[in-house]
């Protein structure tokens, strides 16, 4: 008779953690991995806007150019990790 074995959550986690330490990175894959991880152009469209990061500098530039200021204010820098 065929017996179906369903792994438990704890068993699955133990199996996952029983894996060996991270494998060394192959030098031949280095450049490709570096490029893969970095932001891609299509993910960075919002950076086509020339964002300043100093509100005071924005005031000075706006006064000089006769323009209003757009301030993107977030809890966590909008151009940082959030």
């Amino acid at each position: 008779m065929l017996k179906l074995v369903v792994p438990t959550w704890a068993g699955l986690m133990l199996a996952v953690f029983a894996l060996h330490a991270a494998e060394p990175i192959k030098p031949a894959q280095f450049e490709k991995l570096h490029a893969l991880i970095k932001p891609q152009a299509h993910e960075e469209k919002y950076m086509q806007i020339p964002w300043l990061t100093s509100l005071w500098e924005a005031r000075q530039q706006a006064a000089k150019e006769g323009k209003p200021i757009l301030l993107w204010e977030m809890d966590g820098h909008p151009l940082g990790c959030v």
């Binding site: 953690f17 030098p27 806007i49 500098e57 200021i69 301030l71 151009l79």
Partner: protein, 330 residues
């Protein structure tokens, strides 16, 4: 993350570039600053709905004039709504007297003093390294961009590693020899491990405590030398886990590193700082919910930043937590 998508809308990019001076700021710093810039920001914010009662957040999208008049405030991610917001802001600007809008009509004096606690600046002689993390998936015998259900969680994150002048000098010996092993300052090794090998792809991450660093191994060796360039190879591995018994750790990163560093021996200038960290990450933090289940491929890429680019000068995320960023080995 969603607001990045808002500002990726081509209509919004065009409208902003043609009509506004755009600035992005961290409200956590800005609302606390005790200097003229902090005063100015609070004066503007107090004209809108976010008055910061009890020190609460004032985050959102503001349009304002150089002399501190709030035109409009909104906190929304929908591109259509924000496009409309920008157009009505521009209409409000155009209703102001011409003399108020004229070039040079407002005088903004240089900022005399900066609150160092809430406006951290790059130490003299330090370099900035961009740090990007990304979830990955296995594909054939390599990797591809990972997928997840968290909106935007598949994209690369942004942070910055600051390396101080004395640490740079340690990485660039005056009389390099091929095969020479360079002692990397422990401060730098632990700064990288604790504050930059983190999963910040879904928001502000928990950093690793000193105890969470279960293994830290990083070696740097001179590979080749010529008159204009010294090449170094970096190799390393870290085991970061919230419990000494890794099987019980709710969060962890078991990771290998490989790096290609270069410097100009005459100018004593770092010219390349490319590092890849790759390993299995598991778990999530209070503000980074939605992590994938189990130990999943996760990569971090480092490369020298452009110090003249405002976005690259954003301080390292850890600095806003008020800890000792430069002495992570303690």
């Amino acid at each position: 993350m969603g607001r990045e998508l808002t500002f990726a809308d081509p209509r919004i990019i065009r409208l902003v570039k043609e009509n506004f001076v755009a600035v992005a700021a961290d409200d956590w710093f800005q609302r606390r600053r005790k200097d003229a810039e902090g005063d100015f920001f609070r004066k503007v914010a107090n004209q809108g709905p976010r008055k910061g009662q009890g020190g609460s957040t004032r985050q959102g999208i503001y349009t304002l004039t150089a002399d501190g008049k709030l035109l409009q405030y909104r906190n929304h991610q929908d591109a259509d709504i924000m496009h409309g917001f920008l157009k009505t802001s521009l209409a409000a600007w155009n209703r102001l007297p011409a003399v108020t809008r004229a070039k040079g009509s407002v005088e903004v004096a240089p900022l005399k003093a900066i609150d160092p606690r809430f406006a951290p600046t790059l130490p003299k002689g330090a370099v900035i390294v961009n740090v990007h993390a990304r979830i990955l998936d296995r594909q054939d015998d390599f990797y591809c961009h990972g997928t997840c259900r968290f909106p935007g969680g598949q994209r690369a994150s942004h942070d910055h590693l600051w390396i101080r002048a004395e640490e740079l000098r340690a990485l660039m010996p005056a009389n390099p020899r091929q095969g020479q092993e360079i002692a990397i300052p422990a401060k730098l090794i632990y700064r990288i491990a604790r504050y930059h090998l983190v999963d910040n792809t879904r928001g502000e991450p928990p950093m690793w405590t000193r105890r969470d660093v279960r293994k830290a191994d990083m070696k740097l060796m001179i590979e080749s030398i010529d008159k204009r360039e010294v090449r170094l190879k970096l190799m390393g591995s870290f085991l970061l886990a919230t419990d000494a018994d890794v099987k019980l750790a709710k969060r962890g990163y078991d990771v290998a590193l490989l790096g290609d560093l270069r410097y100009d021996p005459e100018r004593k200038k770092l010219t390349r700082f490319d590092i890849v960290a790759l390993g299995g990450h598991w778990g999530q933090g209070t503000y980074t919910g939605g992590a994938r289940l189990g130990r999943m491929p996760f990569g971090v890429a480092f490369e020298l930043a452009d110090p003249n680019r405002p976005a690259d000068r954003v301080p390292p995320q850890f600095i806003r937590e008020g800890g000792d960023y430069y002495n992570a080995e303690r």
